[in-house]
Structures are given as structure tokens and as C-alpha cells.
Amino acid sequence: VTSFEERLIAELPALRRYGRVLCREREAAEDLLQDCVERALRRRHLWRRPGNFRAWLFRIMHNIHANDVRWRARRPRSVALEEGHTGAAAPVQELRAEVGQTLAAFEQLGDDQRQLLVLIAVEGFSYREAARILALPEGTVMSRMARARERLLDIRDGQARDRVRRIK
């Protein structure tokens, strides 16, 4: 039998990543992660055993962040890839070119689309789970997910065209 705390500790890396995607910057993400862990520990009696523990944790984090965004004036969104992400996602030049380009394109997406892509494509949540985490209807998750994928492809097409132009 794995205890609540052990399962929580096991999810910290994934929660840290989702926090980074939500906040876009390290300090705010660490604060968010800490708030999330605190709230989860305080509410552990509300978690029902057969429930989906991961989705429960992600929903807590998402809600804290959504409230923060609502109440606090948002920090400027202009996180340059070089400043905001090299520290996190390994130096971009060390990633395979396609991976680096995908990351750069991902950074240009809106918050809704980035959250969906991470929850579904990276964390492997089902549409139903993602819908619960994000408090959206399942149908909306499905259509937004398709749009997010298309948008990401479009941005990368644009990058490719720019590169061709530079070479010419």
C-alpha cells in the first residue's frame, strides 16, 4: 500500500513541470508548486481512494493558478526563450533541432493551448481527466486540442519558411 505522501512525492516532478508551463517562470512556478503541495496535504481527507490521484493534484494546481491569475495583475508575458527556458529545458542548441523548434513554437501558443498539450500529449491524461482539471466540457477539450496541434504545426511551418528565406 502506497501512502498519500509517497504518491504525492512521486508526482512532484510532473507537477513541477505543469507549474512551469502555467507560470512560464521558475520562481512563480516554485511558489505555485509549494502552494499546491500545501493545499493537497491539508485536503488529503477530501481525496477519495478510488479517485484519480494525479488528476486531483493537477486540478488543485490548476485552480490555485487560475485564482492567482484572476486576483493578481499578470506579469508581462514576454518570456524570451533564451531567458525563460534555457535554464529549464536544457540549452536549446543541445536539443535536436526539431525538438528545439517545437519548444520555440510551443512558447508562442496561448495559455489554454499550452495547458492542454501538456496535460494530454505530455502527461497522458484522457480528455475526460483534462476536462475535469480544466473545468471544461469534454467536447471543448477535444476541439481545442485539435486546434492546438494545428496551431503548433502552423507556427513550425512558419519557422521553416523563415529559415528557407534566410538561406536564400
Binding site: 501512502s3 505522501e5 509517497e6 504525492l8 512525492i9 512521486a10 512532484l12 516532478p13 510532473a14 513541477r16 513541470r17 512551469r20 508551463v21 521558475r26 520562481e27 516554485e30 511558489d31 508548486l33 509549494q34 502552494d35 499546491c36 503541495v37 500545501e38 496535504l41 491539508r42 485536503r43 488529503r44 481527507h45 534555457t86 535554464g87 529549464a88 529545458a89 536544457a90 540549452p91 536539443l95 535536436r96 526539431e98 525538438v99 528545439g100 523548434q101 517545437t102 519548444l103 510551443f106 498539450l117 501538456v118 494530454i120 500529449a121 505530455v122 484522457s126 480528455y127 477535444m142 476541439s143 486540442m145 485539435a146 496541434r149 494545428e150 503548433l152 504545426l153 513550425r156
Partner: protein
């Protein structure tokens, strides 16, 4: 863009297919469609490739507590700090397994031993969860809130322990809800960055034990039960130092 929408099977369905979200009927329809529509098949593999790149790109974010490539010295210091916390978290997770897997407290007849083992378990998990969740330990709940939480657990005369004579400052903490009732974790830190936590939890009125020391994977826990209170001090310092801290801390709650 127009040619993408000309396909009889919509992009939404292709995307849901990639995510394994279609029922078997629709899945079969989509697969038939893919086998004779090269463009749709290409799109599906583009989605899959892109998902894979995204996973690779974001993978380091999950481990950033362990390996971090930032070069600036200040950030490097913070990073080392965090990396050591992660190692500690890993070690303590092992400790939890050691403490938990035997589950000797479920077998023991003596309620005091049982409560003591639970107490150590609660204290260590709170210690680890707090530290590993935090890049820097901040005093996020204000002192007055922590003091109030402590009074609820340890009695009206309890005050926040002052460990400055031993070089430790209160830097954070949080109230907790444990199975046994409300609890509170106080986090102290000395100048060299060593962190110890004091944990106060409920105890049945009759169980009493003297101080006991448990050591595993570089983490020490000193704990005792007295009256209605369970008390545990956790840290990666020597058990002698931890015992001194525990005794000093206990004076603040015994009035």
C-alpha cells in the same frame, strides 16, 4: 489551410484518434480512411512526431531540481541547494519505505509504539514534502498563523520555539491535517543552509515515550510522546545536535 479541411474526416477526429479517444467503431472508420488518404495519414504522423518532440522538449522541466544547466553563479547556488533537497527527498522517500513497509506499528500491541511510528512517518513526510516542493524556503504562512496553529495542537501556552541560541531561524512552516487531528510543521534553517523541521501532532492522552532516535539514509528523527502531544524533530544533522534542538524546542511548548 483549405485543403486540410477538405478531408471528410475532420481534424478533430484525427487528433482524438492520436490520443486514443475514439470508440472502436470510429477508430476503425478512421483507420480505413487513413489507409487510402495519404494526406490524412501524413497529418496523423505529424501530430505524433510533434507530440514526441514536445515530450522531449519538456522532459527536463520535470527533473530540473536534479540537473540544471544554468550558468549564472547565483542561480547555480540556488540550484545546488535545490539539487541537494532532491537528493534528500529521494533519501527520505526511501526512509518512508523502510518505516512504512515493515508497518510494524500495525502489528505492535502497544498503542504508544504504534503512535510513535505514525508520528515519525508524518513528520518525515511533511519534512520532505515541504522541502522538495520549495525552491527557497519562504515564510509563507505568517508567524501569527503558525503560532495559532501550534496553540491548537500543543495547548494555549505554547509559543513558537526560538532556536536562535543554536543558530536556527524560523523560516517557514504550515498547518496540516493528519488522520490523528491537526498538526503543524515548523521549518528552521541555520546560516549554512541546514534545514531542520519541528513537527507537532496529536497523541492519545495515555501514550508516553521518552525521546527516541531513528536514523536512515542521512536523515535523523528525534521523537517523543507526552500527554496529548506527539513531537518530532527531523533533519540531516547529527543526532546529538538534533537532540539539543529537540530539547530546546520542547521548552517552548511545555510552558
Amino acid at each position: 489551410v483549405k485543403d486540410r479541411q477538405a478531408s471528410p474526416i475532420g481534424l478533430e477526429e484525427l487528433s482524438a484518434y492520436v490520443d486514443g479517444e475514439l470508440d472502436s467503431g470510429r477508430r476503425a472508420v478512421v483507420e480505413r480512411h487513413l489507409s487510402n488518404h495519404g494526406e490524412a495519414a501524413g497529418r496523423v504522423s505529424a501530430y505524433r512526431r510533434q507530440d514526441d518532440y514536445l515530450r522531449q522538449a519538456l522532459a527536463p522541466l520535470a527533473d530540473e531540481g536534479v540537473t540544471e544547466p544554468l550558468a549564472i553563479a547565483q542561480q547555480r547556488r540556488a540550484r545546488d541547494d535545490r539539487a541537494s533537497r532532491w537528493r534528500m527527498a529521494a533519501a527520505a522517500a526511501l526512509l518512508l519505505l523502510v518505516v512504512g513497509a515493515g508497518s510494524w506499528w500495525y502489528q505492535t500491541e502497544r498503542a504508544g509504539e504504534r503512535r510513535m511510528a505514525e508520528l515519525v512517518h508524518e513528520a518525515v513526510t511533511a519534512h520532505v514534502a515541504y522541502l522538495s516542493s520549495s525552491g527557497a524556503v519562504n515564510l509563507r504562512s505568517e508567524r501569527s498563523k503558525l503560532a495559532e496553529a501550534l496553540r491548537q495542537v500543543a495547548g494555549a501556552r505554547a509559543v513558537l520555539p526560538d532556536l536562535t541560541p543554536l543558530g536556527y531561524e524560523l523560516t517557514g512552516g504550515m498547518p496540516l491535517d493528519e488522520a490523528a487531528g491537526p498538526a503543524v510543521l515548523l521549518v528552521y534553517r541555520n546560516r549554512s543552509g541546514e534545514v531542520v523541521t519541528c513537527y507537532f501532532g496529536r497523541n492519545g492522552p495515555k501514550e508516553e515515550t521518552p525521546y527516541a532516535i531513528k536514523e536512515s539514509h542521512g536523515i535523523n528523527v528525534v521523537s517523543r510522546l507526552e500527554g496529548g502531544l506527539g513531537y518530532a524533530v527531523t533533519g540531516s544533522v547529527t543526532s546529538d545536535e538534533l537532540m539539543k534542538i529537540a530539547e530546546l524546542g520542547y521548552r517552548a511548548i511545555s510552558g
